[in-house]
Symmetry: C2
Subunit: 488 residues, 2 copies
């Protein structure tokens, strides 16, 4: 238990011990990030009396710290305007592969089938998108342009699995648009008629004698209060990125990443609250791990090597894929090798840590095994000269021999450059947002979305998936809760 926790979240409160409800609503939403805002709006529009509770002093959460990319496709107006063909089926084929292993096929299916409608929902709720494409993949555009490749859709192996299309949609705002997106969603939430209470810490769930979740115990105005949820509680309170103990139990490798993408509220409390009511947790080892090596895209002409000087991935793939591959499979020990033609300081400020006139000297300077990097560069150059990458199939346009000295390395270990991470595991939910117990049964009255849950990304990741599934399944959860029967 973290020291600031007044009540252990996993210890549920029995409804019969609640003498008086201080607040009541049909639907109580816990957490005011993207998923919580969308759940609230949708529940309110479905006619429910909604109460949204937020621990911080205002809406935003980790969503507001993000780049604002939302993964949408299947033929959105922006995709069409930019000349990209896409269908729900191609989107499905891509996601089912890129987000695995362990993907929830039913969730991916509905997410793809209803993605265009979801785009229109955002527009209707005041989130604007410029019908433009930005060609540097991976991260949000520094401009107010919308569409980018955010998951390696146009790189090996996905370019052979599904027809490539960019699907990262950024609201029309210069550079990172997470704050802007949340401003718009906060405005829409306020318009929805829902009651919003900030500076409220949710402590534990209230469960009745049938195991149904009927409310929340909160700490507000320096006292404990009891909040009744007539139809359901929706948990949208983030992941457990900031909880060192939970990270150690479930995904210990990510703790070494220097930048934990989250706010204080990402302490796994909502996950533990739900577990107290009997919820299952799944894919708890999964995490987004991104090292923003590229942009600029031109740096993809270099080669990434591991601790023994071997290449291990096509450098033109999504940098979040590079990060996951490196952390989980290569001990986060990685160097980007370039020559003088390719080298430049990257967008995140990464600079060369080793510069030498020959590859042999570079190898020695880094401390790689004798001959290892030399062999790797020779092999790479031999085929790059023919426009081929037999090992990892980097796109021919980015294949360029490394032959112009000096040669340089960027040491990409976790203590050297920025590694960003957040957790992907969480509550096991249905596509409806209903929370499941370990036997696969629905826990009545309990719903969840966003990083409190295991969403679309079972183990893989693409930028835009968290706002994408948080908003999409937040809406589903809000609607499900609003339509639920009140307990008799």
């Amino acid at each position: 238990m973290a020291s600031h926790e007044r009540i252990n979240p996993a210890t549920v409160r029995k409804a019969r011990t609640v003498r008086k409800w201080d607040l009541e609503a049909d639907v109580v939403v816990v957490g005011y990030g993207c998923a919580g805002a969308c759940a609230t709006i949708e529940a309110a529009e479905a006619g429910a009396d909604v109460l949204l509770l937020e621990r911080a002093s205002g809406g935003g959460g980790t969503s507001a710290l993000s780049g604002g990319l939302i993964y949408m496709g299947g033929g959105t107006p922006v995709q069409k305007a930019c000349g990209f063909e896409d269908t729900p089926e191609e989107m499905y084929k891509f996601l089912i592969t890129a987000l695995g292993p362990g993907v929830d096929e039913a969730k991916v299916r509905v997410f793809c089938d209803e993605s265009v409608a979801h785009f229109h929902w955002f527009e209707r709720h005041g989130v604007p998108f410029k019908p433009s494409f930005y060609p540097e993949p991976g991260s949000e555009a520094p401009t107010d342009d919308c569409l980018i490749y955010t998951g390696g859709e146009d790189a090996y192996p996905f370019d052979r699995i599904a027809k490539p299309a960019p699907r990262g949609h950024k609201p029309q705002h210069p550079a990172a648009a997470g704050g802007f997106l949340m401003q718009k969603l906060v405005a829409a939430t306020e318009r929805s008629g829902a009651r919003i209470e900030c500076d409220v810490r949710c402590e534990t769930l209230v469960v009745n004698e049938h195991g149904r979740v009927v409310g929340v115990v909160v700490w507000q105005d320096k006292r404990r209060r009891f909040v009744r949820a007539r139809r359901g509680v929706v948990l949208t309170a983030g992941g457990f990125t900031m909880n060192q103990e939970m990270v150690a139990r479930h995904t210990p490798l990510i703790w070494k990443c220097s930048y934990k993408l989250g706010v204080d509220g990402d302490d796994g409390r909502a996950i533990r609250m739900a577990m107290g009511a009997g919820a299952d947790i799944i894919h708890m080892d999964a995490a987004e791990v991104a090292i923003p090596l590229t942009p600029p895209r031109r740096l993809m002409r270099g080669i990434l090597v591991n601790r023994v000087g071997q290449r291990f991935i096509n450098e033109d793939t999504y940098y979040g894929r590079v990060g996951q591959e490196s952390l989980f499979r290569q001990d986060a020990h990685m160097y980007l090798i370039v020559d003088n033609t390719i080298y430049e300081r990257n967008a995140a400020g990464f600079e060369a840590t080793h510069v030498e006139e020959t590859v042999a000297d570079l190898e020695k300077s880094i401390g790689l095994p004798t001959g290892s990097l030399q062999g790797t560069v020779e092999y790479y150059n031999r085929f790059a000269a023919q426009g081929e990458d037999p090992l990892f199939h980097k796109t021919p346009a980015l294949l360029q021999t490394l032959t112009n000295p000096p040669y340089a390395a960027i040491d990409c270990r976790t203590d050297k450059v920025l590694w960003a991470t957040f957790t992907l595991g969480g509550l096991h939910t249905q596509p409806t947002g209903e929370v499941l117990n370990p036997d696969g049964q629905v826990i009545p009255g309990l719903y969840a979305a966003g990083r409190t849950t295991s969403g679309l990304a079972a183990h893989g990741y693409c930028s835009g998936i968290s706002l994408g599934d948080g908003s999409f399944f937040g809406r589903k959860a809000g609607r499900s809760a609003a339509m639920a029967n009140a307990p008799t």
Copy 2:
């Protein structure tokens, strides 16, 4: 819920709804494998009235299917007789590294400190060990010899971290000794005075109004019965290897392994029963994954390469480490490359799948990228001739150039050869065997050990760890339960 489950295990039974207890004991142990037998014996010796419940028709469980290796060290009589020096500190340094990341240091500490005493406990309870060493590492001896290296202790990198000592102890019985070990433990359990009931399926836990576990609902003689546990319930009912849904949720990659090491009871039911009472689950992605390539040890003179013809590990390490590395990091796509000097059919019957006169032809025959295997073999041979392995530090005694045609490959993919697996994740417990909830608090009356828990092996593994920690922490759990205060 599996179709044979009459009650959802995660749905606890409230004590106040139990009208009559059909059976009572101080301590109720669920599951009669190694951990359950040891828990029962220890609890009975501590003076408790113990009832052991087993779903099958007799004791044994997955333990009886095993090789019978028990990981013990720190200077056991067998280690001393065979001339191996070992200390609890060297054992600790090894295990803390080999079983990580995410190791529970307190568990490893007590396991090492009390390992010699644990050896004597086995002897006192009728399990004999021959004071002899068998030089082929990895798996149990085909003879009745005792001691072997079972975790790569004498190979890189562990040989540089801790002083190598073999710690796998096999009871004195020819070849696989798991059945023999369980015969001896069953005899000791019967002598202990505990009551033993087989053909009893435990359905769910009974919990009182304070959240304390006070009993178990069982199915016996075609009817439901209620079993009261005055001091505690000890869950030692195996992992979830045989439950496809749980594997998909937690560690999907292992499902492709052809040999799931378990019995029907390894369906995760005990884990879900405990979750129903509020237990946390940790390291659920972890699994033992072994491909018995070696023995014979001479095959370690070959090289293991991945799908692009690169080496990725020192071939002289423990084959369970090879299996984990290959499945979790190399997509289970692996070939053993040998020449005519090295080749032989291995102990598990693996045979060459590709034979060619040149490495270039072998590369082509396998379908590896052009030049990849050739480069790997050239590099390997260049340094092997000097007694060096700059990449992975295979021991010089096993470095031998691959120069005598024909050359051969053994295709080691999961659909080609035997891959054995079982799950390592489970309940979060204290070294005492007490089960913790997601807030790190003890659940009163609930104890667990063996593969129902996350034990010593957080993510790594060594042969002998499961019987090792199952027996050791089974004893701890049995004693803790026996010494617990009965609820007032």
